[in-house]
C-alpha cells in the first residue's frame, strides 16, 4: 500500500542542509495498522506529510497503492489525497465556521460528488462516530473528543484506502483517547490501512506493528545495539 525506498528529505537554507529523513525505508501492506514512534524531531511528522503527499521529497522512491508519486503534478497529488487518503490530526483541524456536517462534507465537495450521495455518506460517517445528532453543531460547541470524532468522520466519509493519523489522541484526556483509539481499531478491523504517528508507547502497543524513527531513519529497536536496553525497558513498561 505504502512503500518508501531510500527516501530522503532535505531542508536547505543558504548555510545549512538539514536531513529530516535519510535513507528512509518502509513498507506498509494493505490492511496493516502501523504505529510510527520516535522522539521529537526524529522525522515522524515529516514522514507522515510525505506519505500523505502534502510535501515533496528530495530523493528516493515512494510508491503509493502501486503508483510512483514523485513525478505527479499538484492536480494528481490532490486527487490521490482526496480519493485514497484520510487524515486525522492531533489538533483536529476542523474549519471553525463550518458546522459538523459541512466540515465532513469538505473532501466530498472536492470529489465533485452529487448532493444526495454526499448527504448519505456524511450522515453514515457521523453515525459511525456517534455524532449524527450533532450535525448542525459548530466545532466550538463540541468537546475535544467529539471534535476528533468529527475529524475521523471527515476522514472516513470519502472511504479512503489509507488513514494517516498524527498523534490522534495527543490533545485528549485518557477516557476520550481510549474512545478514539477503539474507533481506529474498529476501522482497522473493517479493512482500512492505518499509519499512526504517536509518542505514546501504550497507543503504539495497540498497533499491529511498530516502526521506530530516529534521526530520520527507521531503526529496529530489538536488533540495534544502540537502543536495545531502552527497548527492553520500554517493552517491560508496556507489559506492566
Amino acid at each position: 500500500m505504502l512503500k518508501m525506498t531510500h527516501l530522503s528529505k532535505v531542508y536547505r537554507t543558504e548555510v545549512v542542509e538539514t536531513y529530516a529523513l535519510r535513507d528512509f525505508n518502509i513498507d506498509v501492506k494493505e490492511g496493516e495498522f502501523v504505529a510510527v514512534t520516535g522522539p521529537s524531531g526524529s522525522g515522524k511528522t515529516t514522514f507522515l506529510t510525505i506519505a500523505g503527499l502534502l510535501e515533496t521529497f528530495t530523493g528516493g522512491e515512494y510508491h503509493l497503492d502501486g503508483v510512483e508519486v514523485s513525478h505527479l503534478d499538484d492536480n494528481a497529488r490532490s486527487k490521490i489525497r482526496n480519493e485514497k487518503i484520510g487524515f486525522i490530526f492531533q489538533a483536529f483541524n476542523l474549519i471553525p465556521d463550518l458546522n459538523v456536517f459541512d466540515n465532513v462534507e469538505v473532501p466530498l465537495r472536492y470529489r465533485g460528488m452529487k448532493a444526495p450521495e454526499r448527504k448519505e455518506r456524511i450522515m453514515g460517517a457521523l453515525e459511525r462516530v456517534g455524532l449524527a445528532s450533532r450535525a448542525k453543531h459548530y466545532p466550538a460547541e463540541l468537546s475535544g473528543g467529539q471534535q476528533q470524532r468529527v475529524a475521523i468522520a471527515r476522514a472516513l466519509a470519502g472511504s479512503p484506502r489509507l488513514l494517516l493519523a498524527d498523534e490522534p489522541t495527543g490533545n485528549l484526556d485518557t477516557q476520550m483517547a481510549r474512545g478514539v483509539l477503539e474507533l481506529l481499531e474498529e476501522i482497522h478491523r473493517e479493512g482500512a490501512t492505518i499509519v499512526m504517528v504517536t509518542h505514546d508507547p501504550e497507543l503504539a502497543a495497540r498497533a499491529q506493528r511498530n516502526v521506530h524513527i530516529i534521526d530520520g531513519q527507521v531503526v529496529d529497536l530489538a536488533e540495534d545495539p544502540r537502543f536495545h536496553t531502552a527497548y527492553v525497558a520500554a517493552a517491560g513498561q508496556v507489559r506492566g
Binding site: T49, L54, N75, R81, D97, V106, P107, R109, Y110
Partner: protein, 436 residues
Amino acid sequence: MFGYYIQLGLRSLRRNPMLTALMVMAIGFGVAASMITYSVFRAVSGNPIPEKSSQLFVPQIDSWGPGQNEKGEPPGAFNYVDAMALMRAHQASRMALIYKVMLSTVPHDANSVPVSAQGFAVTSDFFPMFDVPFLYGNGWNAAEDNNRAADIVLTAEFNQRVFGGANSVGKNITLSGHDYRVVGVARHWDPSPRFYDVWAEDGFDNQPDFYLLLNRALDLHTDNAGRNSCRGTISYNGWDEYLQSNCVWLMPWVELDTASDAARYLRFLESYSVEQQRAGRYGWKPNVRLRDVTDWLEYREVVPPESRISLVVAVCFFFICLVNTVGLLLAKFMRRAGEIGVRRALGATRHEIYAQYLVEAAAIGLAGGALGLLLTVVGMSGVGLLFAPEIARLAHVDLSLVGLTLVAAIVATVAAAFYPAWRAAQVQPAWQLKSN
C-alpha cells in the same frame, strides 16, 4: 463548485466583520467617486447619434481667407450666400441649415403671462436627417420650405407648457407677434451633447422649445440668437446687407451615405471654392473641411476639461482604494492559512483554492458595489459643486450605470484579489498542519 465557492464567500463576509467592512467601504467609496464623475463624462463625451454619426457631416468653407480664418481652419458655420448656394446645389442626400432664434408666446390658458421660448430655424431635412421622433404629426417637406410656409414643430415639453400636452397639430401658435401652424410635436429628443449646435453653444444648454421653418424666419427677419461671427469692418446696414455680409451664423449639416459620397462632396466643396475664387469672392485657394459628428465634436472640444480631469482623479482614487484592498485581502486570506492547509490536505488543488478566494473577493466586490451604488445615488446631488449647472444636470443614474457600478466593483475587486488569492493558493499544507 462555483455555487460552493459563493456559499463560502458569503459566509466569509461575516467573518472578520471589521476587515470586511473596511474593504467594502474602500471599494464603495472608490467606485462611487468613479461612477459619479463617469456619469458626467459619459453625458458630455458620448456619441449623441451613434446610428448615423458617420453619415452626418459639417461642411466647412474658408470664406474669410488665410489672414482672418481660425488659425488655418475654415469657420465653423456658413454665411448666408454660401449657405444658400450649397442648398441650391443639392449635392448631398440631405442638407439642413440651422440657426438659433429666441421668441416669446402667450400660453392658451386665460391667466397666463408671456413666456420666452427658444428654438431653431431649420430646413425640412433637419427632421429626417437627425431622426427626430414625433409624438404627433411630422416635420415639413422641401415644397413647404420653398413655399415659405408658417410651419412649426413643437417639442413635447413646450407643447405641454403651451397646449397642456394635447395633440396640437393643426392649431396655431403666435410667437413674437407672428402666427405659426403646428405641423408636428416631437417626442423628447435632446441629444447630449447637442451636436448640431456646438459651434454656437457648448452643446449642453437648455433644450429647444420649437423648430420653425427657416425661410419663413428669414422672411420675418427673425434675428439670430446664437453665435454670429464676422471679419473686418462690419459695415452692413439692415437685414439684406447682413445677409450679404461675411458674417457666419448658419450651421450647415449634410447627410452622405457612403465614404465615396463623402469624398465626392469634399471635391464639390473644393470646386465650389475655386468657382468663388474665379468669381472674385474669395482671394485665396480653396480651404475646405468635411467632418463627421465624432470628428466635429472632437474639433469643437465639446468635452469640458474638468470632466476629464475629475474622472482621472476619481479613477486614481479608486485605484488607491484598490491598493488598500489588496493589503486587506491579503491579511484576510492569510489569516486563514490553517484552513487552506486543511482544504489542501483534503484534496483541494491550488486552482480550487485560487478560485475559491477569487469568488470570495467577488462577493466582497458585490457588497462594495452595492454600497457604491448607494453612494453614487447620494453623490449625484453634489455634482453641481464640481460642474456648471448645465453639465451637472446631465449626470443621472440609469440602469446601465447601475450595472456598470456593480460590474466595475466586482471586476476591480477580483483583479485586486489576484495576488492575495495566488498567495493563498501557494500555502504549503504540510507547514500549516505541522504548525498546528
